[in-house]
Symmetry: none
Subunit: 204 residues, 4 copies
């Protein structure tokens, strides 16, 4: 067999591409119609494949939603890791996390809708999410806060975990507001504002 040229993608690559294609279609459809309202057939049509084909790449409809979540989180975590590399200042770490968070969602409105709305449908799913990745995220924030406290930058009397939830909640709300707002503005731009407010508080 001759060497595989770059022109013809390998079989594994072709398969991964189609998987990607379907996942992308699912994001679009779930965002447009909502998870329960969107039919598997809608996703297949959007992807330009037959309904049955979806089941060659995904277990079932739920698996589509879960895969969207996992795939996106994997990518986001990678990006966050790179963004934090070599950054020692805890406040700057918070700022970078916030930028990745809002930057990613702000880049892809459909994805943002799926994350802010569709993924929160079932307590079952949310429990699953919140017991792992969300906890990791909150922990990362919490650690930066604790560090800042240790470094004497932040007040010590505030619980780091409560403060972490608060920062996360604020960022999350920005994302949800951006989706629902009719105005078109850059979501990412709010990352710094939120972190600033978080750091300084409202007091003069």
């Amino acid at each position: 067999m001759p060497t595989v040229t770059a022109r013809r993608p390998s079989r594994a690559q072709a398969s991964a591409d189609k998987r990607e294609l379907i996942l992308r279609a699912a994001i679009t459809q779930f965002a447009r119609r909502g998870f329960f309202q969107a039919q598997v057939a809608d996703v297949a049509r959007e992807a330009g494949v037959a309904a049955g084909t979806v089941y060659l790449y995904f277990e079932n409809k739920d698996d589509l939603l879960i895969s969207i979540f996992e795939q996106t989180m994997r990518d986001a975590i990678d990006e966050a890791r790179r963004a934090l590399e070599g950054v020692a200042d805890p406040v700057e770490r918070l700022r970078r996390l916030a930028r990745v968070h809002l930057g990613r969602l702000g880049q892809d409105r459909d994805l943002a809708v799926v994350f802010q709305v569709e993924l929160r449908q079932s307590t079952k799913f949310m429990e699953r999410f919140s017991s792992t990745l969300l906890q990791d995220y909150l922990q990362a924030i919490g650690e930066a806060i604790a560090e800042a406290q240790t470094a004497g930058l932040f007040r010590r009397e505030v619980s780091p975990s409560l403060a972490a939830k608060m920062l996360y909640g604020a960022l999350d709300e920005m994302a949800t507001n951006w989706i629902l707002s009719r105005r078109r503005y850059r979501l990412a731009a709010q990352a710094d504002e939120v972190v600033d407010l978080f750091v300084h508080g409202m007091k003069r």
Copy 2:
């Protein structure tokens, strides 16, 4: 003939009671199974009525969800109005709003689940919600913030509307976290902490 006692409830009262009963059952079932997974028959069974009876009091399944929202909001708004009566200090106003917000949800876990999870299923519903009542709420917060700025209590360079979203986001996140957490703690207790943090920020 002596005055008719209140013993026997009027027909209108009985009807309102049954409506209330079904709504309560819907909250329980939607919280337990999720809106799409819960069947109208489940709600009816929970309420101890026949399935058809639900349709005497509500248009359809969607109407149940919408009614839960509207009924709860009406009550909450009433309570908030009473809580703010005669309170001039803007920071105290924020504190009272936060207490009502978390106090109500913390009192009724099922209701909190419906509000934090089930009501956010569809962009359609969220748009409806966010375009009216949520805006009112954010406005009320924003006004208190602006007042505090005018009074020289808060920094002037922060946008009141952004700050309002941030405070709301933080409270909302507390509620969601409370639902999803396995630990049992008093949600209402976090209202003051959140407001304190919001007001002071993290800076020393």
Copy 3:
């Protein structure tokens, strides 16, 4: 007890009146919506009584339809009997029957709709109808025809029963056409035309 005056109708009369009222409402509703589409509640509302009241006067929904039929037929037969009294000429008898037939239906469009359309819904009902009253009617026509044949007025080679069906079919078609036509014309006026054409066809 004082003599019952004519002012206050007897109890039996009042009951008969309400029965009549409901039956009339049923005719209107069945004509407007069709038997299966019309709900018992519609009939009750039209009659100005509660839904349950219908069941004090009629067995069930089917009974409404059957009662309309029977009541109307009873009246029609009475009228026909009076119209034929002392009329010896068989052709004139046919003419009178046709006039009663189209005259009655032409007087009450809703009733005509129920008769021409709604009553023919189920083979079950039609079989019941056709095996008794329709047969009587066809027989009455057939007898007049046979008489006319005996009297040498009509051709003998035509089967009286076939000819009877044909005349009935023609009258029935006039009624159906009248209902469905947008034009408003006097149905009764066609009785003579149909009979003329028929008689001419049967003439020796």
Copy 4:
């Protein structure tokens, strides 16, 4: 490779066949139980397919009834057109129309029941029917009659449209009678008798 034989039906053919199969089953079931009493599941069972399959070929239950009507009318019109080809004599044209009319219904009792009984359920449907195809049919009859009048074969004083309705009514009645009668006789045989009687009646 040898020529593909017709053994394996094309996909389009298979689809058309299944549609036909379901339509046939609907005719049987509607005739046996009546349109409103027959369930879609009954039709599916009769056709040997799953209930959901019906909805791959038809919009909904109503569409089944409408499709029976349209399909049958299309076929009947084709046959009638062929039967009238090259026939100039107006009386013979009437005779041929009558033969097609009763011949078709007499060949398929279930179909006849659907046409004579079930399709007449709703004024809505009847209006739709009577405003188009029935009018065409009456027109075709009426034209033959008018021609016969012009040719001096029929009396001129009778309105062709009234006479057409009469002939149609007579044929229609024969069909209805045939369905409801317990006796088994050849419906088609009555076509000539009816036309003879009609023609005799119209003769100058």
